[in-house]
């Protein structure tokens, strides 16, 4: 599976499936953004969802599958009652402690040479979502990300 496969589950529910690979996250994001535009979400809201989904999907490729190609993952999006719910599923390694990272802000007050080059992902995910939940069952990780659509 080189490209993302989209299945319309309901009027405002879409499932996008893909396998990890160099540009797989981009392919899924492109599909997702097109759907969100079709659902007429405000531009600023789409921007925030874009940031969060990119981080969540990159985490699947990097951590759940350790940069291995061919790992199956999916994005399930539902728009209902002014709320967007996105569920990211994979069959890779679960979160170490069984819970997603806290995403503390990184320290930027040191000298230039000690500025962090990473550690921003979970901070942005937590900052931009209304709430999130994680579940691991039957070898499947499911990260649910909710957004208020305003």
């Amino acid at each position: 599976m080189d490209q993302a496969v989209t299945t319309r589950m309901a009027d405002r529910r879409i499932l996008i499936e893909a396998e990890t690979g160099t540009f797989a996250v981009r392919a899924v994001l492109d599909r997702a953004l097109a759907v969100l535009a079709e659902w007429r979400l405000p531009i600023a809201c789409i921007g925030n969802v874009h940031i969060v989904l990119a981080e969540a999907l990159n985490n699947v490729a990097e951590h759940a599958y350790g940069f291995r190609d061919g790992g199956r993952f999916s994005l399930d999006m539902t728009l209902e009652d002014g709320r967007l719910t996105c569920v990211v599923r994979d069959h890779g390694t679960p979160f170490p402690e069984g819970t997603p990272p806290d995403g503390d802000a990184v320290a930027l007050d040191g000298p230039t040479e000690s500025l962090p080059e990473g550690g921003f992902g979970w901070f942005m995910i937590r900052k931009l979502t209304e709430d999130l939940a994680y579940d691991h069952a039957d070898g499947c990780n499911a990260l649910t990300l909710r957004f208020a659509v305003v």
């Binding site: 921007g47 990119a54 981080e55 490729a61 230039t112 080059e117 990473g118 942005m124």
Partner: protein, 112 residues
């Protein structure tokens, strides 16, 4: 990923000719920036007007590009599109870099 560059004395302008700086190209971006900024320009302006998205890997690569310039040289950012600007503001990286809405605004500002 494609980049282009021009120099005017102590100033160098590097333009990113790509829609995204993300995990797929972060390492390539860092390497290209190292090659482009091998000169001695004291101020490098990174023109991001064509970039409509960066993720945390892309942000990390821009931080790395600034660090590899070394002491006495600075990296300023120009032409930030809305989502790119959001990422800088959310992570408070807007306190580390000087952000300019356009390349012209960056050129007008004193390089101090």
């Amino acid at each position: 990923m494609d980049m282009s560059s021009r120099s005017e004395g102590a100033l160098q302008i590097v333009t990113v000719n790509a829609r995204r700086i993300d995990a797929a190209v972060a390492i390539q971006f860092k390497d290209l920036m190292r090659a482009e900024t091998e000169g001695s320009a004291r101020r490098v302006i990174l023109d991001l007007r064509q970039v409509d998205f960066i993720d945390s890997s892309g942000l990390g690569a821009i931080v790395a590009a600034m660090k590899q310039l070394g002491a006495g040289r600075r990296l300023d950012l120009a032409g930030l599109t809305p989502t790119v600007e959001s990422v800088f503001r959310l992570t408070r990286m807007d306190t580390v870099f000087s952000l300019f809405p356009t390349l012209d605004a960056a050129l007008m500002a004193q390089a101090d």
